[in-house]
Symmetry: C2
Subunit: 420 residues, 2 copies
C-alpha cells in the first residue's frame, strides 16, 4: 500500500508543469507556502531584471530610459496580460492600484449610464471594492444607491438573487470573478449576458482569477474589468494593477482622473486636456516604473506554462486537497468553506474551524506552513499551480491534522483583537 | 589669470557638500547630467536596498514582510519627507502618483468648501495639474469654474492678478511652488496668507521644490500639498508621490477614493467603510512596495546634507550659471527665462534660444550634456545641489556656447513634430 507521501510524490512526478517550480526563488525549501494568492513568489527572471532596472536602466541610462522602453510599459505589459484574459492586446493596460482603477472605471460607467441610479454588488466581493463604490456614491452625490446582495451560505455567489434584482434602473454591477474568501468562481458569460439583458454594465474584479483560473473577457462580452498583479501573476508586492475596457466602449468612457499620461501628446504641455485615443486615456500620472516593469517576467512565465495547463493542474490540486480534507481533516472539525464543484471554484480552498485563528498561528509558528487567515475562522490555502507541488498540498493537510490532533494550536490564545 | 575651468574646480574644492556626489552611481563620468529635476540619480544605498527588497524581503520573507516593515512604509517615508518640508511627521504620507493625490485632495477640499464655486490656478502650473482640475470640474458637475490666471512674461508667477482674483466665491487655489518651466518660486507664506484672508484653501504642488528649495509648510500655515519623489528626492523612476494635509484639517476632509488602506482596521474586512484616523485615511489601495521603499535612501541623503546647505549651494550654482550665461551665452542669442533674483527661483534655470530644439539635440547627441527641453524653446538646466558640481555647470555652459558658435546644432532639423 502506498503512503500519502508516496502518492504525493507520484503526482508531482507526473505533473507536466513541475519544471516551473525551479523558475522561482525558493529560499526555504521546507516552507509550505500557500499564500501565493496574497503575494506570489519571486521569479528568478524578476530578480535579474530588478538588478538591470536599478543598476543600468535607472543608474546608467537615467532619463533616457523613458524613450528606451519605460514609456510604453503600461501597454506592453497590459498587452501580455490580455493574452491571459481572453482579451485583445489593446484592451488591457497597467496603471495605479486595483482600487484606483475601480474608481476610474466605475465613475466613467456611471456617467455613461446617466439616468440609472442603482449599483449592485454582493457581500462576497472584496471589502475594498465595496468601500470604493461607497465613496463614489457619496462623492458624486447624484442619487446613486449601492445594493449589496447577500450570499445565502457565504460560500456561493448569490446568482439568483442578483439576477432577480436586475431592472432598467441598474447602471452597473461590480463582482469579484473569483471571490476572495470562499474561492467561488462566477460564470462570467452567463452573468454578463443577464446583466446586459437589463441594459446594465458589468465590471469584473479579476484579482483572484488572473493567472490561476480561465478568464475569457471577449467571449463573455464583458464590459470592464480590473485586477491586481501581485497574487497569481507573481508581479511583486503592491505591483501596479491592470484595467480592461472592451474596445467599443473605449471612446465612450471618460477617465475622471485625467492626468498627463492619458492626455493626447503629453509633451505638448498645452493647458487644455484632450483625451488620448484608446486605453492610454485611462492612464493618469507617471507610473511606478520599477514595480511595473517587474510584472512582466511573471506574465511571461504564465504564458509559457499556458492558462489551460495551469487551470487543469489547479483543479487536480484543489480536488486532491478536498479529498485529503474529507479523509483527514473533516473528522477533526474542519469545514469546507469553498464550493465542492471544480467549475465553481478558483484556485484556493478555505477551510473553517472553530479554532481557526489558533490553528493558523500553530501552522505559521510551529509547523512551517504559511496559509492566510480571513476572519472569522477561515484558513485560506492558496494553490498557485505554477509552483505549488502536490507534496506541498499533502504536507499542509498533514500539518493541519497534527495542529488539531496533537493540540498544538492550544499553545496560542484567541487574542485576535491585539493583532492587525 | 585663472581660466573658467580652474575657477570651477576651485568652487568644487570649496563646496562643503562635494562629498555627496560619491554617494550616487556615476556610470558615465563624462556625462553632464542636468536633468535631475526630471529623474534624479541612483543613490548607491538604493542599489543595495533594491537587492535586499527583491532577494530577501520579497523572495525569502514573502508575505511576512508586510508585518516586517512594508505596512508602515507610507508613513515612515512620509514622516522623513515631512522633515524636508517643515511639517509634522504625521502630516505627510506617501501614496499613489502626484496626479492621483491632487485629485484626492482637491475633491476633498471642494466638498469641504461647498457653496464656493471658483478654483484658481495659473498658466505656469504643471499642465497635468490643470488637467486633473478640469477632470474634477467635469466629473463633479456641480457648477465649479476653473480659472487659469496668466503670467505676464511666462517667467514670473502672476501674483498680483492672482490676489486680485480672490473673493468669497473662491474655494481652492492650486499652484506649483516652484514652476516647472521657468523655475519661479512662489512666496508660500505671503500667498497662503492672502488666500486664507479670502477664506479659500491652498494646495501647493512641491514637485520641483522638495529636496532643492526651502519649504516651510507649517510656518506658512499651508493647507494642502502634494509632490513627487523622483526628481530632487532621487526616489527612482515614477516612485510614489506624497501628500500633506495640515493636522487640523485631517479630520475635516474625506478621501473620495476610499480604499482598504485608508479604512480603519483594514483586516476586519467589514463591508462598511470607516475612515482611518489621521493621514492614513488618504491612502487607497496596496502601494507599489518596491518603488515606495526605494524612496527612503534618497530622503536620508537629503536629510544628512540638510536643506539649508542644499539651498545655499543651489543658489551659488544658479548664480554661477547666470553669470556664465551673461558672459558666454547671452551674446549668442540665449535668453534667460528664469527669474534673476535668487529668492524667486528654485533650482533650475531655463535658457531660451530661437534654435532651442536643435541646440538641445546637439547637446545630447554630440556634446555629452543631458538637459531637458520644454516647448517652445526652453533648455532647462536642472541643478541638483546634492550631486551637481560647479564643473558640471561650467561644462554645460561651455558646450552650449560651442553648440551655437561652432554651429553644431545645424546638423539637426527642426522636425519636432516627429518626436514625442
Amino acid at each position: 500500500m502506498t503512503t500519502h507521501l508516496e502518492q504525493a510524490y507520484a503526482l508531482d512526478a507526473a505533473d507536466p508543469l513541475a519544471r516551473f517550480r525551479a523558475r522561482f526563488v525558493n529560499a526555504e525549501p521546507d516552507l509550505i507556502y500557500l499564500d501565493g494568492n496574497s503575494l506570489g513568489r519571486l521569479p528568478h527572471d524578476s530578480a535579474m531584471l530588478a538588478h538591470d532596472l536599478t543598476a543600468r536602466q535607472w543608474g546608467e541610462r537615467l532619463i533616457r530610459s523613458w524613450n528606451e522602453g519605460w514609456f510604453t510599459l503600461p501597454e506592453r505589459v497590459g498587452g501580455k496580460l490580455a493574452q491571459l484574459l481572453g482579451a485583445q492586446t489593446d484592451e488591457v493596460i497597467v496603471a495605479d492600484s486595483t482600487s484606483v482603477n475601480l474608481f476610474k472605471l466605475a465613475v466613467a460607467a456611471l456617467r455613461h449610464q446617466r439616468g440609472r441610479t442603482r449599483i449592485l454588488t454582493d457581500d462576497l466581493n472584496f471589502p475594498s471594492d465595496v468601500y470604493i463604490l461607497q465613496g463614489i456614491v457619496e462623492m458624486l452625490d447624484a442619487g446613486h444607491r449601492l445594493e449589496i446582495i447577500r450570499s445565502e451560505d457565504g460560500v456561493h455567489g448569490p446568482v439568483e438573487a442578483l439576477l432577480a434584482a436586475l431592472d432598467e434602473d441598474v447602471a452597473l454591477v461590480v463582482l469579484s470573478h473569483t471571490v476572495f474568501k470562499s474561492g467561488y468562481l462566477y460564470d462570467m458569460a452567463a452573468v454578463t449576458a443577464a446583466i446586459h439583458a437589463a441594459g446594465a454594465l458589468v465590471l469584473w474584479d479579476l484579482s483572484h482569477s488572473v493567472g490561476s483560473a480561465p478568464v475569457e473577457l471577449n467571449a463573455a462580452d464583458a464590459d470592464l474589468a480590473i485586477g491586481c498583479t501581485y497574487k497569481y501573476v507573481n508581479g511583486g508586492p503592491g505591483a501596479p494593477a491592470f484595467l480592461y475596457v472592451r474596445r467599443d466602449l473605449q471612446p465612450l468612457l471618460r477617465n475622471p482622473i485625467s492626468g498627463w499620461m492619458g492626455q493626447h501628446n503629453p509633451f505638448d504641455f498645452t493647458l487644455e486636456y484632450a483625451a488620448e485615443l484608446g486605453l492610454r486615456h485611462f492612464l493618469t500620472g507617471t507610473p511606478a516604473v520599477l514595480s511595473l516593469a517587474l510584472i512582466e517576467p511573471g506574465v511571461d512565465l504564465l504564458l509559457e506554462a499556458s492558462m489551460n495547463a495551469l487551470r487543469a493542474k489547479s483543479i487536480r490540486q484543489s480536488e486532491y486537497l478536498i479529498a485529503l480534507w474529507e479523509e483527514m481533516l473533516a473528522p477533526l472539525g474542519y469545514m469546507l468553506k469553498s464550493p465542492r464543484q471544480a467549475e465553481q471554484r478558483g484556485s484556493h480552498i478555505s477551510l473553517g474551524h472553530a479554532e481557526g485563528w489558533r490553528i493558523n498561528q500553530a501552522l505559521i509558528r510551529d509547523l512551517n506552513v504559511l496559509p492566510d487567515f480571513r476572519a472569522p475562522d477561515n484558513i485560506r490555502l492558496g494553490i498557485a499551480p505554477i509552483y505549488t507541488t502536490f507534496t506541498d498540498v499533502y504536507t499542509a493537510a498533514e500539518q493541519m491534522r497534527r495542529a488539531v490532533e496533537e493540540r498544538i494550536y492550544a499553545r496560542y490564545s484567541d487574542q485576535r483583537a491585539a493583532v492587525t
